[in-house]
């Protein structure tokens, strides 16, 4: 009777099997922890926009303040994406015939808005208020990175729940005077001492909430 037994060479697989069996669960855990993380999946997101608008030129070289275009940021939850009219405040006079501005001109004439692609987007089930942050010393750069150096806007931070919590649990390092809010080159970690940042925390009455309903309302 020919019975099936494992061939001799299969003995060599046994140690390999033991190693795989021991490491596989660890691999799965790490795969979920890092592979599914927005640090891996979201950071670096750089969609092509309908208009070749350069933040590096406008906010960097020309030194325009963020709030000239994103004007609701200090008073509302949502930081407005400017309407075409805001562009045309200058561009009726500045390079009105530029080919790069054609979609803006078209939008201005037709009245249909430019369909910008949302880069730093938080999930709908998370509540976020810009005004609560920028009026109390959290600078634009903390979440958006050096926009003034970006030709095309790129996702700089994961915007994940854990990332939000990191700051809510330890806000001191991320606080600056409100006067420097839109100064993207300013770094409170070098400009201010720890004690000065703690003083800012007291000054702005910062006591970040960490319970579920803070963001999931």
């Amino acid at each position: 009777m020919s019975r099936f037994l494992f061939p001799r060479w299969s003995n060599a697989l046994l140690p390999a099997l033991a190693v795989v069996g021991a490491l596989l669960p660890l691999y799965v855990v790490m795969f979920v922890a890092y592979g599914f993380s927005p640090k891996t999946l979201e950071v670096g997101y750089q969609p092509t926009q309908p208009v070749p608008f350069s933040h590096a030129l406008h906010a960097g070289e020309l030194g325009m303040d963020c709030r000239y275009c994103h004007n609701t940021v200090e008073s509302a939850a949502h930081a407005a994406v400017p309407p075409t009219q805001t562009c045309m405040n200058c561009h009726t006079a500045v390079r009105p015939e530029s080919r790069k501005l054609a979609p803006i001109k078209q939008s201005y004439e037709s009245g249909l808005p430019v369909e910008w692609v949302w880069v730093n987007r938080i999930a709908d089930y998370a509540y976020f208020d810009h005004s609560a942050h920028v009026n109390r010393g959290v600078g634009c750069v903390e979440c958006h990175g050096r926009i003034d150096q970006m030709e095309v806007v790129t996702r700089h931070e994961p915007l994940s729940m854990g990332w939000c919590l990191d700051c809510h649990r330890n806000p001191v390092d991320n606080l600056r005077p409100v006067s420097e809010i839109t100064n993207l080159a300013y770094d409170q970690r070098t400009e201010l001492t720890y004690e000065e940042r703690v003083a800012l925390k007291d000054l702005y009455h910062i006591n970040p909430s960490e319970n579920c309903s803070t963001c999931h309302r």
Binding site: R3, F4, V29, V32, S160, G162
Partner: protein, 484 residues
């Protein structure tokens, strides 16, 4: 050899339920050699065709399994609203079924581990399929917490995995302990069952005629050749796994009971719950073993291996654990009165006389009165009666969980929110479908794996005893009939 009929081998029928002083009652009837056991048990999986009853049962089970698939997919695509759950009854059929199935599983572990450590030799006839029953029951149980969370695609949040939210399960919650208890239980039960299967799988491999069977059984037999060293390690591993499983028999259902006992709800917040749940689990589990054993020994002709004595013993366990359950019911009422707590008193009066009085009555008559019938040997050894009574116990134990969960939730602290739970067709379909999954797996097991632990049964036969002296001759001497 293929024409051996189980109940005719040797031509004599022995009543092994009667104790004869000075002798051990035989646990294998009408058989004298090991080869006969091997032939009879292997025949089931070697036969080209299963008995007609198997095909009928399998078709029915597959149908119910399909229903389970439909109900679960409908739930996933639509949401838990397709069940009849609402405030305040947020747990009903789902958790009832979960506790019911986890409870069923306990008999298998008790038989395989505790009875092994206590050297109860009669366990060998029933341990294999009781352990299989445990595994399939825990699989059925696992479905319900898995789908009742609603967002099934993030069900891995049950486990403490590092994640981008920096969120962990609530380690102070019994629901998390439950995840650990049930998954440990499943893993250890599976290992135990598989370890016991290895020598028998090798037997099937060696007997197999087809190449497919040879390779399939051969792969899972892990190269077993029955050498002395193999047996030595096997026995060690089996003993260690039995020792590992023994605390699980008590711990798993204790932790399941914490899901209720740790909460503040009157009717749930009861310190008697852990022992009471464990007794109930063993009670329902043994009832399910009887429910499965009676038709299986008929269908596959295994009456000489799963004898009346085995069934008689199981009915005695049902009697003991059923009495414990009855005591616990009474003690709950006593403590509700003795505590002087208004809400506690109300919860129990309401349980017996409130809107779920019918479920309570059903539970008490099935679980308290039924097992008391097993005081009579005539009932303990009557096949039709014990089969019927085991079904009654199964029904009663399902209603026990339903009564505990739903009657406590439906009338909680705030009378304005009181509600009467009504199941939807999806509730009922999912419950029936779980039985489909259970019986599909069980029938496949019966057909393709050795349903009786051959190697272990042989150890309790007289032929395995080195002092075996049935024919009046001593070991190693010719059978001359010389009594010296």
């Amino acid at each position: 050899m293929s024409s051996i009929r189980a109940d005719q081998v040797g031509g004599r029928i022995v009543d092994n339920t009667t104790e004869v002083p000075g002798t051990r009652a035989p646990l294998v009837l009408n058989m004298t050699t090991f080869g006969q056991v091997t032939a009879q048990v292997s025949k089931v999986s070697e036969a080209g065709r299963a008995p007609l009853a198997w095909y009928v049962a399998f078709a029915g089970s597959l149908g119910l399994l399909g229903l389970l698939g439909v109900c679960v997919l409908y739930l996933i695509f639509t949401g838990v609203g397709v069940w009849g759950l609402n405030t305040p009854v947020a747990w009903a059929y789902d958790i009832t079924n979960f506790v019911f199935w986890v409870g069923i599983g306990h008999a298998g572990t008790l038989i395989s581990a505790i009875l092994f450590l206590f050297r109860q030799k009669w366990r060998t006839g029933i341990n294999r399929f009781a352990e299989a029953m445990t595994i399939f029951a825990v699989m059925c149980a696992g479905i319900f917490p898995g789908i009742h969370v609603g967002r099934v695609w993030v069900v891995y949040w049950l486990f403490p995995l590092p994640n981008q939210m920096e969120m962990w399960p609530q380690f102070r919650s019994p629901l998390l302990w439950d995840v650990f208890a049930v998954s440990t239980y499943f893993t250890v039960s599976l290992l135990f069952w598989y370890t016991g299967l290895i020598p028998d799988l090798a037997t099937l491999r060696d007997r197999a005629k087809g190449r497919l069977q040879q390779v399939a059984y051969g792969l899972f037999a892990l190269g077993w050749r029955g050498s002395n060293r193999h047996w030595h390690r096997y026995e060690r591993a089996y003993l260690l796994l039995a020792a590992l499983s023994t605390p699980l028999v008590l711990s798993v259902h204790s932790v399941v009971s914490f899901d209720f006992a740790v909460s503040q709800l009157p009717g749930w917040h009861t310190t008697i719950f852990p022992p009471y749940f464990v007794a109930g689990a063993i009670f329902s589990g043994f009832a399910m073993v009887v429910t499965l054993a009676v038709p299986a020994r008929e269908m596959f002709g295994l009456k000489n291996l799963i004898t009346l004595r085995h069934l008689d013993n199981m009915n005695k366990v049902i009697l003991v654990t059923g009495s414990m359950v009855g005591y616990a019911y009474a003690m709950e009422f006593f403590i509700a009165w003795y505590s002087g707590a208004l809400y506690e008193k109300f919860a129990f009066v309401n349980r017996a006389f409130g809107q779920y009085w019918w479920a309570y009555l059903l539970m008490v008559s099935c679980n308290v009165i039924t097992p008391q019938l097993f005081w009579f040997k005539a009932i303990r050894t009557s096949i039709p009666l014990m089969f019927f009574l085991s079904l009654v116990v199964n029904v009663g134990m399902w209603f026990e969980r339903f009564v505990i969960i739903v009657s406590s939730l439906a009338n909680d602290f705030l009378p304005s929110s009181w509600e009467f739970f009504t199941p939807t067709w999806v509730d009922i379909g999912t419950m029936a479908g779980a039985f489909g999954l259970f019986f599909t797996l069980f029938l496949l097991f019966c057909r393709f794996l050795p349903m009786i632990a051959m190697a272990e049964v042989k150890m309790v036969m007289p032929a395995a005893d080195p002092h075996h002296d049935e024919d009046g001759h001593h070991h190693g001497t010719p059978a001359t009939g010389d009594p010296s």
